[in-house]
Amino acid sequence: MSASTPKTLPTSGPKSILDICHPLSAEESVRTPSPDVGNTTGSIGEKDLSLPNGTPVDTSSPASSSSLLNRLQLDDDLDGETRDLFVTVDDPKKHVSTMETYITYRVSTKTTRVEFDLPEYSLRRRYQDFDWLRLKLEETQPTHLIPPLPEKFVMKGVVDRFSEEFVEVRRKALDKFLKRVADHPVLSFNEHFNVFLSAKDLNAYKKQGLALLTKMGESVKYVTGGYKLRGRPLEFAAMGDYLDVFTQKLGTIDRIAQRIIKEQTEYLVELREYGPVYSSWAGFEGSLQEPLEGVSGCVANCAGALEELTEDMSDDFLPVLKEYVLYIESMKTVLKKRDQVQAEYEGKLEAVAFRKEERTATPTDVEKCQDRAECFNADLKADWDRWQNNKRQDFRQLLTGTADKNIQYYEKCLAAWESIIPLLQDRQENTKTETS
């Protein structure tokens, strides 16, 4: 059993001074569940807006500075312990070989843990490797909730696997995955995780464990088929119910978000046609030329801001929802396993108690089962609480981030329109003094 004895839980605590990034350095997504180190590449995609008269729009605003605060905000559950394992995924690169083309990501690790030979690592990994890791974690830690990976398969005709956007969305998800594992008091000590972070040649290591790999990830040690569950303890039943409803709501929110993106995209199409009409009008006017050009420029600016908002929604909002849906699916699987473990225990207990001939069970068997069941329940409960907490933070960040982006969008538009008012009004005063 590879679940090592849990040490006193290192949780996400205050960062060490060296690792807190300057707020004005490259910004990262607002989705990470815990304060992280080494901000990833990519800054806020705010284009430089210029107004019709050439002055750049000032987009620093109360909203932007509060999103700053979001980033600096420390976790709710500080408990004074310093973290000793920091992981980052960044720097995607394309590799072209005769056989295939694929992307690798740099995985950087900083740690003081004795389980690692070195304090720092920097290796390149591809999606396959992450997939392998997750599989191993599921296999070897079946009583724990394993964080999800971004989707494996993408429709080749529909999505460009090598587009900057797609790669960035994937990178963020992979980064989050590793961070969640690194944060976990048990999973972070998993030997496969260690190897993933530190081994130069991961493929060699993978081949070792090939013989033991099964498709469904069910550990050989967990053969529990055939037992029927009598009654589910309330708290686990409640978990199942919660997950069912939550999945539903997430699905609805996903549909709504996609619909909004669609409507915004169509709105954008119309705006891009609308602005130029003012321009062509300006082309044959005299004193109305400047005001009309001004309005045309404004509309163009608003269209640009809208485009950014929609892109952000696509890139940041939808993937998180999808992630949680996948998370919940794997959690439900774990819940089922728990049921099976419990059923096996109860079944064997019954067999021993009534000396049924169909099942061979010894008292020691039963004890083992009981242990297993109790451990499972304990692990699951701890993980559940942790998951609920992280979920709360994730969604708080996700939704406040969305609100922020909308605020920024309106602020950009506001600035554009406010800037042409003096332009329009000045000319008004001038025409009074002109003869024609």
Partner: protein
């Protein structure tokens, strides 16, 4: 461009050049001569709209809307007496009659347009139904605007038919028809649509006509696209309303997150609802554009009328010169122009000197008549050009001013919309933060 190029080449017949200074002077004189504008003397309101149902000629129910026109001396309010206004009811068709009368009587003026008869350029939520209360309301405003435009026009405001339209409900229609304008209206319409070619078109008027065509085209396009933009904007806002419900449902299964989600949902509902007011305000902007869209027709009509006058002038001059040539031929005995008379006289024998004498006398008379007529026509054309150009300049200033105002108020609307958006999302964000 229109204002800047001024007049360069003028047509051969009749046009005189007016310098900007002279134009300014004329305008001032006009106002002085005709007294203060009616606009200043009288308060005019289209206060209400009402539905009426009557049985028409074929005994069928007919429903139409009537509008209440209220008038009151302008100084009444300032004196503090505040007497009750005089009022009468008019329906849209009567407004149309008034306008047609003005068009026919003042062909050299850019006559203000009426609000649209049927709702056009609508975005989907807005009703295209003429009986729809919102449409009726916007029409009421448009009709009032029409009356105010006419009342503030230096020449139109002095028209007696207009005055009685405002003040005498009964018998006005009969009075107008008695002027015989209807016949003129029909021929005017025919003439405007006729095709003819002017040999020496006036550059100023040609440019003005071209401008009015371009303006008509661009405003139509603008209104069409704006309606589509409104449609899309509506969609975006309304879909956000769905968040309200799902957040509420979600909050039911949450403990600490529940309150924040629930109240955020309410803000999303408010956001979705806010678009109705936003788009209603924007309709006002669309109406302002529409007025100028319809104005282009009036502008074009003036240019066409001038073209027609010039054509007739050219024809008349042509006619005169032909007759003069005939005169010459008769006098000298040479036949240069082909005429049937000439041929037949060749075939059937020369005419007698007496006959020739009679002919020449008749021709002389005709030529004299034609010369007088041509002189009159020339004067008419000159007056037309003077008056038209004055009014066009007045119209141009009005247009530039009004459209600038419209753009300003549009920008202000957009600013208000942005501020509301910021408010709602800030509120929602506060709720999310409490999750």
């Amino acid at each position: 461009m229109m204002a800047d190029t001024g007049s360069e080449e003028v047509a051969v017949i009749g046009n005189t050049d007016l310098t900007p200074g002279e134009i300014e002077n004329n305008m001032k004189n006009t106002m002085g001569e005709k007294g203060t504008l009616l606009f200043r003397k009288m308060e005019i309101n289209v206060a209400e709209a009402e539905k009426r149902t009557v049985k028409n000629a074929v005994n069928m129910q007919e429903t139409y809307t009537v509008y209440l026109i209220e008038t009151r001396p302008a100084d009444a309010a300032s004196e503090g007496t505040n007497p009750a206004p005089d009022s009468l009811w008019r329906r849209y068709s009567e407004f149309e009659i008034l306008r047609n009368f003005l068009l026919v009587t003042y062909p050299h003026l850019v006559v203000p347009p009426l609000p649209e008869k049927r709702a056009e350029f609508v975005w989907h939520k807005l009703s295209a139904d003429n009986m729809d209360p919102d449409f009726v309301e916007r029409r009421r405003v448009g009709l009032e605007n029409f009356l105010l435009r006419v009342a503030s026009h230096p020449i139109l405001s002095t028209d007696h038919v207009f005055f009685t339209f405002l003040t005498e409900e009964d018998g006005w229609k009969e009075m107008v028809f008695e002027t015989g304008f209807q016949a003129k209206a029909d021929s005017r319409l025919k003439a405007l649509n006729a095709t003819f070619r002017v040999k020496n078109p006036d550059k100023r008027f040609a440019e003005m006509k071209h401008y009015s065509d371009e303006l008509q085209s661009v405003i139509s396009q603008l209104l069409r696209v704006r309606a589509r933009v409104a449609d899309r904007l509506y969609g975006v806002y309304k879909v956000h309303g769905n968040y309200g419900r799902v957040f509420s449902e979600w909050s039911a299964i949450e403990k600490e997150m529940g309150d924040g989600l629930q109240s955020a949902g309410h803000h999303m509902d408010a956001y979705a609802a806010s678009v109705d007011d936003i788009l209603e305000e924007e309709e006002h902007y669309a109406d302002q554009l529409k007025e100028y869209l319809f104005y282009t027709e009036a502008l074009r009509a003036v240019c066409r009328k001038h073209e027609l006058m010039q054509f007739e002038l050219e024809m008349a001059a042509q006619d005169l010169s032909t007759k003069k040539q005939q005169q010459e031929e008769l006098a000298t005995g040479t036949v240069r122009t082909f005429s049937l008379k000439g041929m037949t006289s060749k075939l059937f024998g020369q005419e007698t000197p007496e006959q020739r004498e009679a002919k020449m006398k008749a021709l002389e008379g005709q030529i004299q008549e034609d010369e007088d007529a041509l002189k009159d026509k020339n004067t008419e054309c000159d007056d037309f050009v003077r008056g038209a150009w004055l009014d066009i300049e007045r119209f141009k200033d009005q247009k530039n001013h009004d459209l600038k105002e419209a753009l300003i108020s549009y920008a202000i609307m957009q600013i208000s919309m942005c501020k509301k958006g910021i408010q709602v999302w800030t509120n929602a964000k506060e709720c999310f933060n409490k999750m």
